[in-house]
Symmetry: D2
Subunit: 424 residues, 4 copies
């Protein structure tokens, strides 16, 4: 199932006038519409390979149909998304769920859809069939050195797959931790994990980065061995300059001020990547922007401010990825909603008058500082984001095309109604 | 310090063209602009008398200047706000901080500014000078019946003041509870409190309502005796048809789904009033809409849906009040920001296409339901709210006028730089 | 695998002297040792059939060996626990995981081990093979009446199984709720759920109870349709006198005061049952007493106080059940630890001097009230609990026997190392 | 008001027999009673000077009587506590609440009671009368360099007072932060704060330590500038080897695993001090051990394990201090309860069989690891703590003597019933 450029143009046609009117209006009211559009066009969010199928809750998975049955079909799905929104031009793979049997072919297929390979993800939180040693009691933290070595070897294998595909980063997320007080010696678990990460770090090619992802808790846990940004930063600093912290929005204790964490990590030069999703209670992996869109805006506000202060490139100097689960929505529709929410927050943050904000901050003019942020946030920037898509041949209304052209129906026809995406 | 209508018109003049352009644009894109404007014009939020001065944190109060020194000046301040935004046409008094020595005069003064008297608030969480019995261990929950009676008598006194001023409701917020396990017999505390509320209920005039406010916790507490909506509803049901639950946004445990609470209370016919503010961690009493504006929208979405389903009048059938604290902002500026945020959320909620939403819900079309809500929320409704103000002689940009006309400077000149609002 | 009484006696023998010394000491220091022991002996906690196998986290299940392969083996496992601790004399079944093909035989088998059948549990949170309609969008709350009817019918079927087994209560836990704002009309979801519960209620035999379990959130949720005790109580009150609220320790928002909830539900005559477990972050289903043992004590303190005040029988007038998950422990060992923690908390709560506590509360003597609770909690009541077991033929040290007699090794030999308990 | 040694002995007399029996029992059941007693005797907890009077909630302070009116009386009060429990042999002063007009005399007075001077505390969270510049918008983070300098100067002044009194550490707790998004540039606030701390650090004498205290939130806040252990550690590492992190139990987000934080800070050699209290919801500053005693034990378990691993002295290599507020209890009674709870948790942690625990951890024997911790925690160690007091001439039952000898009544007679402790 593909959607051709001409088809998109056909779908855009009837709504083009309304869009042009809306765009003209917004362009006349904001000072920097063209500059924002250029930044929006350049901005790309990676889609994780595991987000293309229906996810599950603790108890059940209510599968939809037409899920991609292999890596090739996953790439096609992301190609479809990218054709529609022109902002999903990267894929983040997970090993062993997505082992490329023929990397060169896979790379060529992705290139065909304009997709590059973002961070590679390893998996030491599940036991694979035939795996000699179990991760029941952790992987890199394990008290048994052979189990640790197995986890190290796996990560190096993931790097090697990544090299073949043209990826340049490895995300290490560990489900290591404990369920009960007393189970772990926290310091030994940290030291074991650090040693393991150091071994993996040694295997990184020169131009690669390692992202150390943290997470406050999992259901049924008492502690996690990379639990918060402070711990992740400790690891990253001890590892070296290629190691960075990765922030996932859902991996915090209740009420955490994530935008401040982002700002401080940028200050330290140690923010490496970002996982977008949204949450109401825990790590809910809901559609980006569906619960706390203002928080998302505030985070982008800090990202832009902090990256600009260091002369970082928005597009390349951080890894941007969605990490969500889709249990009651069509996964592709959910991803379209998520990317849209990200682009809107990015556009709003680009609207913030930073000179005036700095001045208000200097004068402790709290009311004005709030007004400046809200002025940007309350602006309806949807026409800017749509215009950016349009200029790149994308859809004005991606979700509408997705539905009108009956993508899911076609996918089910092609792949069947009971396909299950690998890894789910 | 007053701002005359002609002055407001003069301030509006230079921005009128821009507003008209913006309003024309939004009016052309939403289906029901005029209907929304009429609802916005009718909607009034009460300002609590204690919100007009600088608040404090646990440790310090960093006072601003020009605070109202008495009830008359508080009314003038609210009159000023109302002149600017035309949406602050009510005042909520607190006894004993605002005892009207001459109620008839006070009532006439308020009427001059177009203000009515919203819910009266009693105070049994502080000991007043000369008060015979202490509330150290609670008021209506107290194990000593004489202390309970003193608290009952005080509430009846508050009702009597309210009658003279033309108020028709009493808000009972208790700081009753305990600091340590074992301190209270929970059931006896509940029964004592219920008995006290029943005595107060008996003193309510026919057309009055009693609002039972709940709160999950206070600093230094272990339990509160009206702790959540479930407890408040128990009291309200046992009291009778004039008793209702009052919801304050900041009075919940972390992550509570307040919009669902609101919906269920409306279903039960027992939602009576609302206290607006915003929070990051606890009961922070921050400016409305400054932290979680989407939550505010979702709450309004439920309020409108639930009130319409019962045929309730938005303007009169619930008590709407701000309850915030202003520690680092000019209180009047903060209130202007708060009212603006409320009006925007109300306007956005009025934009929701309820017929389509019901249809999407019926079909379990989760993606579309989300799109419908976001379509309304992402719309820039500021011109609608400004237009509503304009039609009532208010300011297009209330905060700008407040600053340009140097209101605070004038208030400081009139009242001094070290005035302290009564009750703070 | 069974352990005979004479074997238990043999295991007890070498530690009997030490126990007698310890028991003599504690018996000489508390005023009511014999009365407590009698209550401990009468107290029985039901084991849920799904807790006998290894549970899983979101990502993986690291199975142990020797898990019960059918209902008969589950009963044997609980029989073994009960033989050791004499406090696990009941089983709580889950349909369809434990459908008894021959109820009379099952009942006889359970009787052989001294086990009765506690609350029956229905399942409308998973789709079973061949099930006509899906619960993807909820069960009793569903917008489609046929799906609701299917869920009603299933619950009635569960009641019928229960009747055959001699159970007298049904626990209804629903995973109904929503993942996103807008997905549900909260009021309609409530009304649909209520209607469904009413249909099920009608099918209850005269002497049965229905327990309406609430839960604040699940991973990936935005709302739950029976979300807190307030909602559960609304349902229970509307249903009738056979309907009660069931409290699960892990089903609350952060920091909730569960002991107060318990107290108020008892005050209203609507507390029906209890699910024991422990948690650090969310609904972690950890071993009872492993994280917050003082909270467990405070809850028992309220249970005893509230039940005594209503003349309720501790042993029969509430349903007591463990609801935990065992991911890194041997499930049977975990259950032994859980039951021990429950018995200790119960014993400590029985030690509280209620006359003195009431007096301290009356006088607002907060320090003394705390001392009274801590005096009970700090007492080492393990010898009392061990003595209660001993008098009933149980083990002084159940966990030691379990290990020394190599129960797990034997179970693996009997059942294999890759057995998977039904339902997991 | 003082209690002489002979009086304490007289009070001990009637309960001595019972104690000896209890002590003999526990001494016969634990392997290392004498070693534990020696450690308990050496362990001293500092009492903060502000904890000797009645605290307040957000709304009211319900004062008790007989509060110390000056520094001399505060020292006497702590002397009294120390005479009773022999474990409160240090005082932690707060400037400007406790400026010693004659340091030599104050030092001599303290010595008379066997008290040393623990960490000095500065105050830049309140404006003092006559202070030139306000801390309304922060102190060390302030955008105005003169305000920052004022805060620096104040801290240096505090060091100087401390030198004269024989203290060797400075605790810096800042209420710096922001109330609203946009108010602060997080990175500039961090850099300003760091610069200020660096200036203060320069003024530290050779043998001094600086403790950088963190806190997640205050009521009415949106961010804090030293918000968590990660931030505090960043500051401490940038400052140098005399700078350490200080952990206050109440200063965390909900559900934080504080024992893990403690362990990692010890691993990094950067844990400097500890503030004891307890909490149910936020920073409640309740009596130590009154809400989560098992958490307190787990923290001590990590402290001992981590300190022993580094060869640190329990008694001297960390600063131990109570930081609580007393609103409904007699402050001195509350402090006696707090110190008792600390000593019990310390004793229980000393009971943990570390060799066996390490072995269980090595083998991933989670059940056994939990048993080992619970074995220690469930032991009634009160006779050990009492014995330690007894051997140092303290009271077997400090609270009983306090009440029997009518200390508070005497203090009220001496100081009046309306005295207010300085700083409250």
């Amino acid at each position: 199932m593909e959607i051709e450029k001409y088809q998109i143009a056909e779908y855009n046609d009837p709504v083009l006038n309304a869009h042009q009117k809306a765009f003209a209006y917004i362009a006349s009211t904001v000072p920097n519409a063209e500059a924002i559009i250029e930044k929006l066009r350049a901005f790309q969010v990676a889609i994780p390979s595991w987000a293309l199928g229906t996810g599950g809750t603790r108890f059940a998975r209510f599968a939809g149909g037409g899920e991609p049955r292999n890596l090739e079909e996953k790439i096609m799905d992301i190609g479809l998304l990218h054709a529609l929104n022109r902002s999903s031009g990267a894929i983040s793979l997970h090993i062993p769920w997505d082992i490329p049997s023929n990397p060169a072919n896979i790379r060529a297929l992705a290139a065909q859809y304009g997709l590059s390979f973002d961070a590679m993800n390893s998996n030491t939180f599940q036991d694979q069939p035939g795996q000699p040693l179990s991760y029941k009691y952790g992987s890199l933290q394990h008290t048994d050195s052979a189990t640790r070595q197995q986890a190290i070897d796996h990560n190096i294998e993931v790097i090697n797959y990544g090299i073949e595909l043209g990826s340049t980063s490895l995300t290490v997320w560990l489900a290591d931790g404990s369920c009960f007080p007393g189970q772990l010696n926290f310091r030994k678990a940290f030291q074991n994990t650090l040693s393991g990460l150091q071994e993996i770090y040694k295997a990184l090619p020169e131009n690669w980065k390692m992202f150390v992802e943290y997470k406050a808790f999992e259901p049924n846990f008492y502690s996690t061995t990379v639990g918060d940004w402070g711990q992740s930063l400790l690891y990253a600093n001890k590892l070296g300059e290629k190691a960075y912290t990765l922030v996932d929005l859902g991996h915090h204790l209740p009420n955490a001020n994530i935008e401040q964490i982002v700002s401080l990590l940028l200050m330290e030069g140690k923010l490496g990547g970002f996982h977008f999703n949204d949450s109401k209670y825990g790590d809910d992996d809901l559609t980006v922007g569906s619960i706390k869109p203002y928080q998302l805006f505030l985070i982008f506000n800090e990202l832009i401010d902090g990256m600009d202060a260091r002369g970082m490139e928005h597009t390349t100097d951080l890894g941007w990825m969605i990490d969500a689960s889709h249990n009651v929505k069509d996964p592709l529709e959910d991803l379209l909603q998520s990317v849209e929410a990200i682009m809107l927050a990015y556009a709003q943050a680009l609207l913030v008058d930073r000179r005036q904000l700095a001045e208000a901050q200097k004068l402790n003019d709290v009311v004005r500082a709030q007004e400046i942020l809200q002025q940007a946030y309350r602006t309806d920037v949807r026409p800017l984001v749509a215009e950016a898509r349009l200029r790149d041949g994308g859809a004005l209304m991606p979700l509408c095309i997705f539905r009108s052209s009956e993508v899911r129906k076609n996918l089910i026809r092609e792949r069947g109604s009971v396909s299950v995406a690998t890894g789910l």
